[in-house]
Amino acid sequence: MAQINLIEGITMALAHEMARDPSVVVLGEDVGVNGGVFRATVGLQQKFGAERVIDTPLDEAMIAGLAVGLAVQGMKPVAEAQFEGFMYPMIDQIASHAARMRTRTRGRLTCPAVFRAPWGGGIHAPEHHSEAIEALFTNIAGLRVVIASSPGRAYGLLLAAIRDPDPVIFFEPKRIYRQYKEEVADDGEALPLDVCFVLRDGSDVTLVTWGAQVKETLEAADMLAAEGIGAEVIDVATLKPLDFDTIHESVKKTHRCVIVHEAPYTGGFGGEIAARLVEHALYDLHAPVERVAGYDVPMPLYRLEMNYLPSVARIVAAAKRSLQAS
């Protein structure tokens, strides 16, 4: 078993699935010879050839459209956007075609494509390299929206995404690409794409998050624990379809919920989770739900980005407000 970090989990999943399934191909800008600007696809072209690890011309709409064509004709394309901020031109092909190919044709054609992109801020990157745009996809019916937050989950969820018979948006929190290593067996075991992961048990407050914020949220839970507060930490992992039941079970126990994400507050996916709570768990709640999120401003350039991103302190403060309420 290898000790790997998150991005190595991505590479390992790609290599595993390409070896197992000849219909899997990888395409994107600089994914081949260069091995990807984050090295996510490093070594793949040497292993699987330029026909299956495809350096494309520079156009994300094209990459997405090619992926749709490939997928409909029986391939399993894993299309990369170099950064999430360059996915916008993919949305048309994803929403207008990938997401509806199956229902449009009543099952005659399907689109088993994965659209993956590094996601989020915090690496001192230039403009447009730090967005968190998952909420632009969660209201598009026909998509799964997944975001990994650990080496093992990166491996298992990406395997599942590639194997899924329908299109999957797959985000990778680039800030924690190399945060830590853990043992991950290259055993081809996929993780389910419809469950939230409970990362830490606790009975006083439920902290719900995804992606890079899993780091700060676990740290906040540590700090709360030091003060005798038991925080349950849930990594949503698959935003859509949402496994609300796992969140609900936790809130039934803790009666308090703090939702943490780095996308802007208004219209962020945190709203969906809070909404489900007020629809289905109103009587379980002993305190207002709290959202700790990015602000409703464009992601600032890097000097201010840490002021934008949810911090451990903000999460701890929200949890405490929640505990003090009522």
């Binding site: 459209g65 749709v68 997928a71 409909v72 449009r104 044709t105 379809p241």
Partner: protein, 357 residues
């Protein structure tokens, strides 16, 4: 100052407007009476279908419908030039091509009648469904062609796109990919002179649409799209090149939309009757009929009989369409993804309950 590159865009036409051969050394296909009669009959069938579909819409039995009046030669040429194994990625008025590939008129009607089952059609199972977002289908064809290249299959992907569609990034990206990856890809521009109300000259300052292929470094040609012979010759060449690994090409079919854009449009708002009248002089069906009759390959009686048969066949299709039982409400859910997630199961149940009242 030196010349870095130079280009010529050829124009291909064999039949003049009155159905006479313009050249002595016509291609073999111009003498293939059987194939020509076959194509002619399908062009007629398409036109009969088209007229009746419009009538259906006018009487409230069909939703918005996009006519193909005047473009029959272009589409029938495409349908007859492709092999079944090839992939066709149409836009939305490609019936002539699709009929040839086995799509049933009732399926066309179902689609415009607001029923997804029209897209689950009887044509080749790998063909794409109708594509409304302009030019997006060009990339699907390019992606299909890439799949064939990867799998080393001798198949070709062909997409059609309108003159308006050539302004869109997806069109450009598709031809560029076709060139960059040497794909077995053919893109046919159905230049019917209008994108709804926008005339061809307003879309682009390019003198021909064919020359857009120069930007992608691919072989490109402009063809009289109302000349079935020229269209077939150009397509046969492009498809053969593609199939043999010589790469992508672009075919501009110059034709004219004799109808409104769709049944929701009124073309009189933006073009003159004179212009339309002049365009009727060049329409493809009478031209091919004259040519066939000149070769004694088609008689007036055959014409009459065939049109009568078309009417019967199309009416049967319309009856079948009208008799199609509605989809159950659950159909809205059941094809969203392979296995319904819990969320959707619950919504489906709620919708069914709500429908019961």
């Amino acid at each position: 100052m030196s010349i870095a590159a130079s280009f010529e865009v050829e124009y291909l036409q064999y039949l003049d407007e009155s159905g006479k051969l313009l050249t002595e050394d016509a291609p073999a296909f111009a003498r293939d009476v059987r194939a020509l009669v076959e194509a002619y009959k399908l062009m007629c069938f398409t036109r009969v279908f088209d007229g009746k579909a419009i009538a259906l819409q006018r009487t409230g039995k069909l939703g918005t419908y996009a006519s193909c009046l005047g473009m029959e030669a272009t589409y029938v040429a495409i349908g007859s030039a492709l092999a079944e194994d090839d992939v066709f990625a149409p836009f939305y008025r490609d019936y002539g091509a699709q009929f040839q590939r086995g799509v049933k008129p009732r399926e066309v009607l179902l689609y415009w009648g607001g029923d997804e089952r029209g897209n689950d059609f009887s044509g080749p199972a790998h063909d794409f469904a109708w594509s409304v977002p302009i030019a997006t289908q060009c990339l699907h064809a390019a992606g299909s062609a890439l799949a064939f290249r990867i799998r080393k299959e001798p198949r070709v992907a062909l997409a059609t796109v309108g003159d308006g569609g050539t302004s869109k990034g997806d069109f450009y990206a598709a031809i560029n990919a076709g060139g960059a990856f040497t794909l077995p890809l053919v893109i046919v521009i159905v230049n019917n002179q209008y994108a709804i109300s926008i005339p061809r000259a307003h879309q682009t300052a390019a003198k021909t649409l064919a020359q857009k292929g120069i930007a992608a470094g691919i072989e490109s040609i402009q063809v009289d799209g109302n000349d079935l012979v020229a269209m077939r010759v150009a397509l046969d060449h492009a498809i053969k090149r593609a199939r043999h690994g010589h790469g992508a090409s672009l075919v501009e079919a110059v034709t004219y939309r004799l109808s409104d854009h769709t049944t929701a449009d009124d073309a009189r708002r933006y073009r003159s009757e004179d212009e339309v009248k002049a365009a009727w002089e060049k329409e493809p069906i009478s031209r091919l009929r004259a040519y066939l009759q000149g070769m004694n390959a088609w008689t007036d009686d055959e014409e009459k009989d065939w049109l009568a048969e078309c009417t019967i066949r199309v009416d049967e299709e319309i009856d079948a369409y009208l008799a199609t039982r509605p989809q159950p409400l659950s159909a809205m859910f059941d094809h969203t993804c392979a296995d319904l997630p819990l969320d959707l199961e619950r919504q489906r149940a709620a919708a069914l309950a709500a429908a019961k009242g």
